[in-house]
């Protein structure tokens, strides 16, 4: 494992890798700064770009978009009280008040430095944790993997937003959609209903862009009138952040980083809750809690450090077990699969240097994050004034272009539109599409592992599980308990988030 880490270092230190990470960060911050446009949408639409690049360029590019997007939402949140992403809502408690006091620049710089600090710390923790977890994952056989996948899918459904049973139904729908095409064991054709275009299965990219990106566009177009923001309101004014002001918030940043890192390890919870929890913890620990909400730099630091600290740990289950922890990492799974790499225990074994190179690139990305953020803040501040009447059709054009280059099939465009409509309807009827996407991506692996387990059992499945593979039996028995505990914790965190909001 250590040799893989060293080899990864060598792979990561490439100029082109840095350029693409920088490009991803810039695009992520750009989209994050646009209210109504989410990081998820940006990643879904930019996913096709990663297909045509070397894995060491494409995947760090998307990770750059991920990191940049989470931070970018804080810019309009601070300047005009309009969070660019959900993760920046907690930043609106103190950011706009600081802007009104003429300390907008300080707030923006604090958001940047806290984001970088939180992200960097959690990335280092991720690198340290991934080796031991990967070593354990290599010991897993098909029955254990099937059981873990089953547990992960159930837990993700339990912790997704909305009602548990609706999450499970979406998961089952995703598993069914994954069965269209060919079965992973015997390669038998199934459920194509005579439609040639789906005989090889529903293509991943149009489906992901359709369910994650298009619904956001539809929500944005519901109202024609765009919010016109005066560009004078978006001027970055005031003095820069001083070292002693940053130093005063270091303890808060460390606390928020720990909170964000812990939450990143829980599937389905995410940046939004982390930001609120970080803010709430900072306020309750402060000797002057009454100052929070009235323009306190510590409030901005707490929220931003926490929401960015989630980024690294969400990759741990993804890279070691192939289980995405949230909807953003589902997109990353799509990028890996498009490169012919299946995240999971085998990936660490066969492509260890590549995996570590990606993780090290993430750490290096934080330096670029600092530079790009510092230089480009005035530019991103103006991004909010771009007219939606242009932005929305151009986003659609990009989504269609990205879908087209995947296979150059008109049917992919039709699938994109169909899943876009499905995603929009699901959004309006409070069905979370994340479990469906998870089921779609992990379904073939689950079915394959399940099938291998049944074959290995040779007709005596219970005997096989309880006597020959006791770990599998334990995981299956503990699944309902673990699901209940994660569901309860997730709902408690969400309830606290509502209270703070």
């Amino acid at each position: 494992m250590f040799e893989s880490f060293l080899a990864g270092f060598e792979l990561a230190l490439r100029l082109d890798t840095m350029l693409f990470i920088g490009g991803g960060l810039f695009l992520g911050m750009f989209v994050g700064a646009l209210p109504g446009f989410t990081t998820l949408m940006a990643m879904a639409i930019l996913l096709p770009i990663s297909f045509f690049l070397d894995p060491l360029l494409g995947i760090p590019f998307l990770i750059g978009v991920y990191k940049g997007g989470i931070y970018g939402g804080s810019i309009p949140a601070i300047l005009v009280s309009m969070p660019g992403t959900g993760a920046a809502v907690a930043t609106t408690f103190d950011g706009p008040a600081l802007t009104k006091k003429g300390q907008g620049r300080k707030a923006l710089e604090m958001a940047l430095y806290a984001s970088v600090a939180g992200d960097l710390s959690s990335d280092i923790i991720t690198i340290a944790a991934i080796g031991p977890i990967a070593a354990v994952a290599l010991l897993l056989g098909p029955p254990e993997l099937a059981a873990i996948l089953f547990l992960a899918l159930i837990v993700i459904s339990a912790t997704s937003s909305g009602v548990f049973v609706k999450g499970l139904l979406m998961l089952a729908a995703g598993l069914f959609l994954a069965m269209i095409g060919q079965d992973p064991i015997g390669a038998l054709s199934r459920f194509s209903f005579g439609i040639t275009e789906i005989e090889a299965g529903i293509p991943l990219l149009p489906m992901l862009i359709g369910v994650f990106a298009l619904p956001e566009i539809f929500v944005n177009i519901e109202k024609k009138a765009s919010e016109i923001i005066k560009s004078e309101d978006l001027k970055v004014s005031g003095e820069p952040l001083r070292w002693h002001e940053f130093k005063a918030c270091i303890r808060t940043i460390i606390r928020s980083t720990m909170i964000g890192t812990s939450i990143g390890l829980i599937p389905g919870v995410g940046q939004v809750v982390a930001a609120f929890m970080g803010y709430a913890a900072a306020k309750s620990s402060s000797p002057t809690p009454e100052e929070f909400g009235k323009g306190k730099l510590e409030g901005v630091a707490a929220a931003e450090a926490a929401n960015n600290a989630v980024n690294g740990p969400t990759l741990v289950p993804l890279l070691t077990l192939g289980i995405p922890g949230d909807n953003l990492t589902v997109i990353l799974v799509g990028a890996f699969i498009a490169q012919g790499l299946r995240p999971g225990p085998q990936l660490m074994e066969q492509q260890g240097p590549l995996v570590f190179a990606i993780l090290i690139a993430m750490v290096i990305a934080n330096i670029l994050f600092l530079v790009i953020g510092k230089v480009c803040i005035p530019f991103f501040a103006k991004v909010v004034t771009i007219r939606k009447s242009f932005l929305l059709p151009l986003t659609l054009v990009f989504a269609f272009a990205g879908t087209w280059v995947f296979r150059a099939q008109p049917s992919d465009l039709a699938i994109l539109v169909i899943f876009g409509a499905i995603g929009y309807i699901c959004k309006k009827l409070h069905f979370d599409v994340t479990p469906m996407a998870m089921g779609f991506i992990l379904g073939p692996t689950l079915e394959y592992s399940y099938g291998q387990s049944v074959i290995l059992a040779q007709g005596e499945l219970l005997n096989f599980l309880f006597i020959e593979r006791p770990i599998t039996a334990v995981i299956l028995i503990l699944t309902p308990l673990a699901t209940f505990m994660m569901w309860r914790r997730s709902k408690r965190l969400q309830a606290q988030f509502i209270t703070e909001k």
Binding site: F52, V89, V163, I185, G270, V272, L396, W404
Partner: protein, 182 residues
Amino acid sequence: MAETQDTAAGPESGTRQWNFNTVAAVLFIILAVALFFIIPHQIDKPMIMLGISQTNLPPELFPQVVTACFFGLGVWYLFKSFSIKQSNDLLKLDREAWTNVIVTLVMMGIYVPLMVNLGFVVGSAIMVMAMSTYFGNRNYWLAGLISVAIPMLMFYVFRTVLVTELPPFPIDIYPLTHWSLL
């Protein structure tokens, strides 16, 4: 995690009311039953290879397990639906929102053959011009410039940087097809 929160709440004054969740649950149950009957007809039969033993794993097994779970979850959802307090946000959409969404869907539907037959640049220019005008832009010169320039830039970037093809007409002229000369 989505930013909006939905919670299941208790029934109102003990009465069970049909709502969109109930209708959805019934549809899921019907779908599960239909799938169960469809499964044997929609899975190819495995080839029998003499001298090679089969895996003893029926190909219908996993689909049947998923369908059974679908049915069970549908029934659970049906019972749960009477106590879920969620609003049907589709019904809350006003006429403007419905019109905008439907118009956009239609434009997307038209964009597909435009892009495939007229090429990416022309198809996209028409789409961007039409959509920006529909959504309130009245600066036609700016719209014209953006609707041509941005797709052309995208076409060039996809072709040269990513080395991928977008539908080419009419940008299929010598300098751009032989991009190494640029």
